[in-house]
């Protein structure tokens, strides 16, 4: 008997047809895995909580309290004026806009995290499991929401600022509105980031979640690099050269240095603004400080980015690793300061020297803070950045609250990170 058609899995000419992905069959065979994912997410949360020691929890709690207090007062004063001029309803509208803004910030954070997850997710490991890729995507959505939780304390502080100015039932309504907006903004932003990441994938025939997992962590096409020049130079110089090579190459260090240099450019451009010389100096300084901050972030990326297995067995001391980075920071900041002083044509000579002296102390302190937290928290770049930006945030708030208090906070940060430096020798890297 002659079969009337090709056998399953065969093309009409008899050869096996390539099966890339049978979406229908795969989707119908998945059992309910909610319990397994819930258990996984619960264990992840527990592990993250345990990873923070008591002191870190206290520091984060203090930072959260300070930030919340800051945003409370930043909202309370203008809201009071707004309610006086526009009435209670106007105040409620003001708070609604503020809550919407916080939800948007949460969405941006979730999108940023989702984009990072899309490239770092263990795609092949997930695909090897009999798990619906769409369920994995839901899990990744939860993971991408993690940084967005940081928005909740300041948002609630903003809302509480309305107490006594706006009726309590309005505040309750606005809290519900914020919760809903937070959920939807983070969901939509993560979905948008995921769609953009999936579009970068080459496997256009596959469903989007599979495409994303299949292309995650794939090695980019290896393009040959120029042969290096073999040199005889000391430890810190070799490390400094390595930093420069890594900064010139696309990777995590490059955008941080690029943003620092762009901010230095903005700082220099301020001297051409149509303003009084003293105003121009203030504007240039306002751009110079973020440049120093970005340099500190670059130092964190470089110090925490050194793989322990490759670097720790080498005869490099703490002094070598500190000096290699500090010399680079000082060189970039020094060049920026000299250029600023040269462009400050409207200021007397003494004031120009003042720029070099006072700005260099401030810029070096900010950048060195990042360097030292990077060294002491190696290889945990995220923890080092959180501590660095958190400390600078507190410094900034202290400056706004009481003149010169910010300097004391910054100096305390330098002392704190300096005391921690000896941890570099016994860094737990395994």
């Amino acid at each position: 008997m002659v079969p009337s058609g090709p056998a399953p899995g065969q093309s009409p000419c008899g050869t096996p047809a390539p099966i890339l992905y049978n979406a229908t069959r795969m989707h119908t065979t998945y059992p309910d895995q909610s319990a397994a994912f819930s258990a996984l997410e619960r264990r992840l949360a527990e592990r993250r909580w345990r990873a923070l020691d008591g002191r870190s929890r206290a520091v984060f709690a203090a930072l959260t309290a300070l930030l919340s207090g800051f945003f409370f007062w930043q909202a309370r004063v203008p809201l009071d004026g707004w309610v006086r001029s526009h009435g209670t309803l106007g105040g409620a509208q003001w708070l609604a806009v503020a809550m919407a803004a916080w939800a948007l910030v949460a969405g941006a954070l979730a999108a940023w995290r989702q984009d990072a997850l899309a490239t770092r997710v263990p795609g092949s490991e997930w695909l090897a499991l009999p798990v619906d890729p769409a369920r994995v995507m839901r899990h990744l959505l939860g993971e991408s929401r993690l940084p967005a939780f940081a928005v909740i304390p300041p948002a609630l502080a903003t809302l509480v600022a309305g107490a006594g100015l706006v009726p309590a039932w309005w505040l309750a309504l606005l809290a519900a509105f914020f919760a809903l907006a937070w959920i939807e903004c983070t969901r939509l932003a993560a979905a948008a980031a995921r769609a953009i990441a999936a579009r970068r994938s080459r496997h256009a025939a596959l469903p989007a979640p599979v495409r994303l997992l299949a292309s995650a962590r794939q090695a980019a096409t290896a393009k040959k690099r120029r042969a290096p020049r073999w040199r005889a130079e000391g430890g810190w110089r070799a490390l400094q050269r390595l930093d420069l090579t890594l900064t010139r190459t696309p990777g995590p260090a490059q955008p941080r240095m690029a943003s620092a240099l762009a901010l230095v450019g903005v700082s220099l451009a301020m001297w051409f603004a149509a303003a009084e010389p003293l105003q121009r100096r203030a504007l240039a300084f306002a751009a110079f400080l973020p440049a120093a901050t970005a340099l500190g972030a670059w130092a964190i990326t470089r110090t925490c980015g050194d793989p322990a297995a490759a670097m720790r067995p080498l005869p490099l001391s703490l002094a070598d690793t500190w000096r290699a980075r500090f010399v680079t920071l000082a060189a970039v900041l020094g060049a920026a300061l000299v250029a600023n002083a040269l462009l400050a044509a409207g200021l007397p000579l003494g004031a120009r020297f003042g720029i070099v002296l006072t700005w260099s102390a401030c810029g070096l302190a900010v950048a060195a803070l990042g360097l030292q937290y990077g060294l002491t928290l190696h290889p945990r770049a995220l923890a080092a950045e959180n501590l660095y930006f958190g400390w600078l945030g507190v410094t900034l708030m202290a400056s706004w609250m009481i003149p010169l208090l910010g300097w004391i906070v910054l100096a305390a940060g330098l002392v704190h990170s300096g005391v921690r430096l000896r941890r570099w020798w016994t860094s737990e890297t395994a």
């Binding site: 322990a308 490759a310 720790r312």
Partner: protein
Amino acid sequence: MLEIAGLERSYGPRVALAGVSFTVQPGEIVGLLGANGAGKSTLLRTAAGLQPPDAGRVRVAGHDVWDSPLEARRALGYAAEEPAFHEELSAAEYLSFVSSVRALEPAAAEARVRALAGALDLGERLDDPVRGYSHGMRKKLSFVAAVLHRPAVLLCDEALEGFDAPSALAAKAELRTRAREGCAVLFSSHVTETVERLCDRVVMLRRGRVARELARAAWGAGAEEHSPLERAFLDMVTEGAAE
């Protein structure tokens, strides 16, 4: 010489090393055998200065790894079980950095890298970014970095795992050369056949303790450096090269 004395290390309640002591003499290749979780990698990572011990000492060429880290690291080579590199760099860029940090003469270091990479079939990929390397290639790169400066003490953590057969033969030849030149080699492996042929002595770990030490004569290995299969393979490779 490598001296390990009373080394202890725990991960929370789990004891990884419970008072391990032994020495590796110059010119000796000592195999480190043990089941998964016996403490081999913890021992090697601690000896290499990657993690501090809870108690005990490690001396590399007379220098304590934790009291005189720089002197110890100058004399030390370490091939990691899970090597990690700067992914953006090429192998040549990384090795030129290692050569600089170790203050090697540039031309001699470059020539040695070319020779080692050629022997390990890595020569044509030296200028490729490490990000595109397979696991075996990463292990080879870690091995080259570890032996580049002809260290006085060499720690190999599953160093030949992932090597193809010709590269494994070349790496074993390099290890024997290092030992002949006076290097103390501590070689951890799961593959007893490799340890049997390569090592002069074996230290066996069980639950973080030295369970047994055996000299080469004790396990009855002959003077042959290669197993019969290795010999046949080597002959085939040599014939192929001649043709």
